[in-house]
Assembly symmetry: C2
Homo-oligomer: 519 residues x 2
């Protein structure tokens, strides 16, 4: 189910269609209006309630009997005070400690954007799709595969802003490696705040970086520190060092973010057979133990701080050790992860992944299988929604556009069906009668323009027309669309005073030397 966002349909079907007439410009990219997405049916239950309980119980035994290494002393002191048993870096959690602490995590909350139309509500049946995040490389057809850089980084941000289906920036869509690591986060976060008006992510890479991210999110929204604490305006992904470790930068991230009431998504990186047991059930037990430990810690830092249960369990290719994505095992893990998150009543994060080296059939089917798992599994925050390729090593411009089309199709699939008297069509069927056709029926004429989803990529021309056009494939179409989107991109308005405050902050922090690079 979807609800239109009143003032947000700037690039809806209507404006798209208007542009088609008369002008010599390329046809407008068919976009859905900006709108919220909601699943109209309950998520799938792949395992029974007893089996969910069995994973839960085993996870608690992992935390109680084996424990987890927390590498930051400050974190261990907080945990000790909360009742955990500490031995060196090892932290063992009494079962009740975990069960009690996670109760205070809100079941839903709003992630605030500088443009209120772009606030993202997380939890329940809501779904929000973000960009790809963190690949070290970018690629497109002409430029090939290359090391991530600021130009590509900014272009991806423009695509995030341009496409209505993308609700937030998941992180750096590609790492701008040409920026010095000490000041990279300052430049990159300023770009996120300026080039888009959607919510964004800050990396938990030490105290300074995440504190700078929080400050940039606050300045961009033009709000006080107090308002920021009431209104989560930044989120961070905390990846555990699976198995069973949480390192200093990540723990610092939890402390900085949770203490300011900003959103923390704890996502164990549990590839079955590598960093986790070779079974799906075992990998999920480990995922669940690590997620619960991190989530409980967010509440020890600040009771009631917004947090998200992150699932990222997949498998490796046992012949080569290479990570695999969009596999049947990935789908199962996606869906069971959702069952666990609902068991704890915590918003659920999953991803649109693939392992393909090219934007080919494999990239497409692995991505749709991932979206299938995310959608039927009850995902709320969908990371890496658009642009992810090569298991996350490459951000692809063409894949970004392809994924936007896939996400729009999922949104349309979930949109409510018109079941009105007119839509049921008895009159239209009566008008046409046996053996006729509906091309000229009154109902058709009244509705044909907006009757069906207009795809971005799909080529439905017949073989002769398609062949005459040079047999273009999805990749070539996506290439043309991403360039058109960049050409049509418009920077969202920002109050001059806010822009200056942002620049002043970034320049001051750069003069101060940015952040340490010894992480």
């Amino acid at each position: 189910m979807t609800e239109p966002i009143a003032a947000g349909a700037r690039r809806g079907r209507e404006s798209g269609r208007r542009r088609e007439g008369g002008s010599s410009r390329p046809r407008a990219i068919p976009q859905l209006p900006r709108r919220r997405t909601e699943r109209p049916f309950p998520p799938v239950e792949l395992i029974s309630a007893d089996e969910v309980e069995s994973i839960h119980r085993t996870s608690l035994r992992v935390l109680e009997e084996i424990g987890m290494d927390f590498m930051l002393e400050e974190a261990r002191l907080l945990l000790k005070e909360a009742g955990a048993e500490i031995q060196g870096e090892r932290v063992r959690f009494p079962r009740q400690l975990i069960e009690e602490r996670i109760k205070s995590i809100p079941s839903r909350f709003t992630l605030h954007a500088r443009n209120p139309e772009n606030h993202v509500e997380l939890g329940g049946n809501r779904m929000a799709f973000g960009s790809v995040a963190s690949p070290p490389n970018s690629a497109d057809m002409e430029g090939g595969r290359r090391t991530g850089n600021q130009v590509d980084y900014r272009n991806f941000l423009k695509l995030v802003q341009y496409f209505n289906a993308i609700a937030f920036t998941s992180g750096y869509p590609v790492e701008p490696v040409d920026l010095h690591p000490a000041i990279r986060h300052l430049e990159a976060l300023r770009d996120m705040a300026v080039l888009t008006d959607k919510p964004f992510h800050g990396y938990s890479l030490g105290k300074e970086r995440i504190a700078d991210a929080i400050e940039i999110a606050r300045i961009a929204r033009g709000i006080s520190h107090e308002t920021l604490e009431r209104e989560p305006s930044l989120f961070t992904i905390v990846n555990t060092n699976s198995p069973l470790k949480l390192d200093t930068p990540m723990l610092r991230g939890i402390i900085e973010m949770a203490s300011r009431n900003q959103a923390v998504c704890v996502t164990p990186f549990t590839l079955a057979g590598a960093m986790a047991p070779v079974t799906v059930a075992g990998a999920i037990v480990e995922q669940n133990a690590e997620a619960l430990a991190g989530l409980a810690f967010t509440q020890i830092v600040r009771k009631g701080a917004p947090a998200i249960y992150g699932g990222f369990t997949s498998n490796v290719d046992m012949k080569s050790g290479a990570p695999a994505f969009g596999t049947p095992e990935y789908m199962k893990a996606c869906i069971i992860g959702g069952q666990l998150a609902r068991h704890y009543n915590i918003p659920y994060r999953t991803s649109n992944t693939c392992a393909a080296n090219a934007v080919d059939a494999q990239a497409a089917y692995e991505s749709v299988f991932s979206l299938w798992g995310a959608t039927m599994g009850g995902g709320n925050l969908i990371m890496h929604g658009a642009g992810w390729l090569e298991g996350g090593l490459v951000a692809s411009f063409e894949k970004f556009v392809l994924d936007v089309d896939l996400i729009q199709m999922v949104m349309e699939f979930l949109s409510p069906l018109d079941m009105s008297e007119d839509a049921l069509g008895l009159d239209a069927i009566r008008e046409v009668g046996p053996g006729g056709h509906f091309f000229g029926a009154a109902q058709t004429l009244a509705r044909y323009e907006h009757a069906f989803y207009a795809p971005i990529i799909s080529d439905w021309r017949n073989n002769q027309q398609w062949f005459a056009a040079g047999s273009p494939d999805a990749l070539h179409k996506a290439n043309a669309v991403y360039k058109q989107a960049l050409a049509e991109y418009a920077e969202p308005a920002m109050d001059r005073a806010i822009h200056e405050e942002l620049d002043d902050f970034v320049e001051r922090r750069k003069r101060e030397g940015g952040a340490p690079t010894d992480f």
Copy 2:
């Protein structure tokens, strides 16, 4: 959920792995063992029970107030006797007539193959995937797009037989146009019976052809006429001429098949905006009305005859009139069709479709969206499971292999999860501990060989290895695999007496001139 078929795992993972060692032959194609597929969760309900009832009621009004043209007098006489109101070719159905008659359709039945291991059970949570059926053209990378012919026809049948994931032949995988229409069905059906030992389909193209198909199915199984009537051994698709017409050959098919207790699948071809209302709800109302009329007629012919509710509603591109497949509208129709079939407690047929011109990303995503709709919608008989391209105008050898991989992934996704104590992995996690890895863990060593699905197509090599191998894409891999499968194909054994009886029958019917060609 899946159950292994005891003696059927001839080309399972085990034999595949053994072959890898030592030999210079190409590595065996990784196949799942032959097995039944069952959904372990209830299908999705996209609309409410009230809305299902609303579609049902409107469909009955279509049949009562507008009626449907039945073009065969014999059929109209049977319908009149059953209580329908006849005016010329128009048949109007009192509501109770439909509701009473469809009650006798079995909720599940077995479609029998000449090899008992290949019997297909239809209904409930069972899923069976068939080949593509009926394209006039075939294609592969080297030969390009060409008119269907007997060589390609036979090669497709060999692929049906070779791949365990394919449970039945949905019809001619490609039309063997080089065979004269009068005797085409005889040659084609003999090939189906000889080159495969899985259940198959006979076309309802007039009385002679469908009678010949029934006889060939009977001879191939080596059974009496009486046994055949107890054990459905052939199925036919009856497409209505939407809107609201059933032509003579199709009605003949219903009469011949139902009277012998063979399976009839009534599938309206209701493309929203062309042969059906421009709304999904309206197209489904029309689909449902036509399906109910045909299904009720099967029971008038013979009470209790096996029948299947067929859904094939999709939309057209309103700019060109071209059919579109694997769209959000298609997915919705798939799922609502399943809700209706379950409302009537009748097995449900759906399809794996796409509109793409090439085996590219579009073909892959449209197919996975179709499989998503079929799987979550409760499909039992999945037509066009492997090989369909260009909206059904082309049977593609590469697409066949790609689809087998997609189907296998769906089967694996649905397979039961190992939730044993060992699989839950507490011991493995204890053994490895924080900061370790699982490559050498005892659990990994015991399980790694069969831990995960081994894909046919997916290329998980890293970028350097993949690039060094010439950047192969899914299409090239599929091309190599289909040729390997043909090279490895073995004709299933057939009793010599049966083979002779089959040849005698076909040769006699050919001498008699086959079937009329004025249909």
